[in-house]
Amino acid sequence: MSEHDLRRFGDETAPDGADVQHLRERLAEQRQADEQAAALLRELPSPDGYAELRVRSRVRATLRGPRPSRAPRWLAAAGAALLLIGLGLLLREDPPVQGTVASGTTEPLPGLQLAAAGVGQLGGTESAPRVDWTSGTLRVEVEPSAGLDVEVVTSEARVRVVGTVFRVERNGLGTQVGVTRGRVDVHCTDGTGHELGGGEDAICLPVTASGLLARARALQGLGEHSGAVEAARQGASKASEGPIATELQLVEAQALAGAGRRDEASLAVEQLLMGGAAHRKADALRLAIRLAGSEAPCSAIEPRLQTLSELGATAAELGRLADCVAPRDTIRARALLLRALDSKPDGEEKAALRRRLRALRR
């Protein structure tokens, strides 16, 4: 390439003045941006003059001490697994609890308070205690934070609760559950269920013949004769024979009489007497006599009074039998009245018996 060509090449490739200026401006902008950023960044905290000394002495002290052992990772993993298994076993272990719940206030487990007026048995585990409540009133208070799963079980009901205050009363009527605070789930043995909140209550009825007999008697005692009849009939359906069946038939008849259902009562007592009435024959006979009425003719009641006198009649019953016998056998009537007087009747009745005895002598 000649010198001329070189000069021409140089002229042709020489940068334009404007381009150079533009490039310079861009470089200056970039430098300025760097400076601005650097100026701000230099405000970042920096170590103080003694930091190096402090760190150096700490490093030296650390290096003088024993070097921490580095266990293999698999060992650490195995240790962690064992720890988890142990923790799981520990958590799974739930010691059993056992004891008698007698009248009084006790705290058999932290977070569980029992106020009892009756008899029961404590069982289950420490995290899931169970009270088998036999009779009486039991007030249960479970702290929600205690994490207890408490169960109260009676013949009629199963009450499960996590944190609340409630009362379980078991008597002749059944098991009554009343909730003071919180919610409880009540599962009755008869298959019914109740979800109770604060202030609500429910009753679980007995399901066995003996339980229904107790309920019928309790209702009878409360003057709720219709309910007693129903309970007795339910009980009778579960006990076709035996002493409980006899009792249920008698209670039914008595309750019918109490409810004023005289004809049904008479029919029930006749059925009972036809069946023999076993140990409750005297009561059945009395009821039959009572149902016949005070004005009933002797022909209707005398045989029953006679049977009753053999079983152990009262002074009044003996006197009434004497009245029936007297027209045809005064000696036997007098003997009956003397027997009545021997049974130590009260003053008024005694006086009446004496008057009748004197009349027969005449």
Partner: protein, 193 residues
């Protein structure tokens, strides 16, 4: 401020020479402490982190294959240690009972009053990715040349330059959003109140 160490001193330190170990420690100390202070963020105690870095480095000197690469080797340890400390600091705020390290905490360094602008700059820096954060500190705060930054980070120089440009632009944008540009006089690059 190039980070170098005499290979013979490394050998001596490995043989149990305390003086040689101290020489290595002294060589690394200023840089490590500076990195931990500027890159740890507000929740990491820089002296704790620097202590851990240096102890790890001195105990694992045998893993240093090439004494010439001491700088990038110890920077790698610092980067990993800071990541651990940052994770711990993050966890500390969620674990009950663990005292959270905040500015003005136990560390004497933290007890030093940070200026308001320093806190703001630190907050802005925390918003950047680690890669951009470290390149800004190494390049603009510590004034290390591109080649040394490239060596420390194990990156090509071109990558360092492009990453620096991105980091600087992002930093300036975030600083501007925070109102920090008002502190800077463009003509002189000085900071005024």
């Amino acid at each position: 401020m190039s980070l170098t160490v005499d290979p013979e001193r490394v050998e001596d330190a490995l043989d149990g020479d305390v003086a040689a170990r101290d020489a290595v420690l002294d060589a690394a100390m200023p840089a490590v402490l500076g990195w931990c202070t500027r890159l740890g963020g507000p929740r990491v105690d820089p002296e704790d982190a620097a202590h851990d870095v240096l102890v790890t480095a001195l105990r694992r000197l045998d893993s240093l294959r090439d004494a010439e690469a001491f700088g990038s080797w110890i920077y790698g340890i610092t980067r990993r240690t800071l990541a651990v400390h940052r994770r711990r600091a993050w966890l500390r705020q969620w674990v009950p009972g663990m005292p959270e390290l905040v500015d003005g905490g136990d560390s004497p360094l933290r007890q030093r009053e940070l200026s308001e602008i320093a806190r703001d700059v630190q907050d802005v820096l925390e918003k950047l990715p680690v890669a951009q954060r470290e390149i800004l500190v190494l390049r603009l705060v510590e004034d290390r040349p591109d080649s040394e930054v490239a060596e420390l980070l194990g990156l090509p120089i071109g990558t360092v330059k492009s990453r620096l440009r991105l980091a600087r632009d992002r930093f300036r944008k975030l600083a501007s959003q925070r109102g920090l540009d008002a502190w800077v006089l463009p003509a002189t690059g000085e900071i005024t109140r």
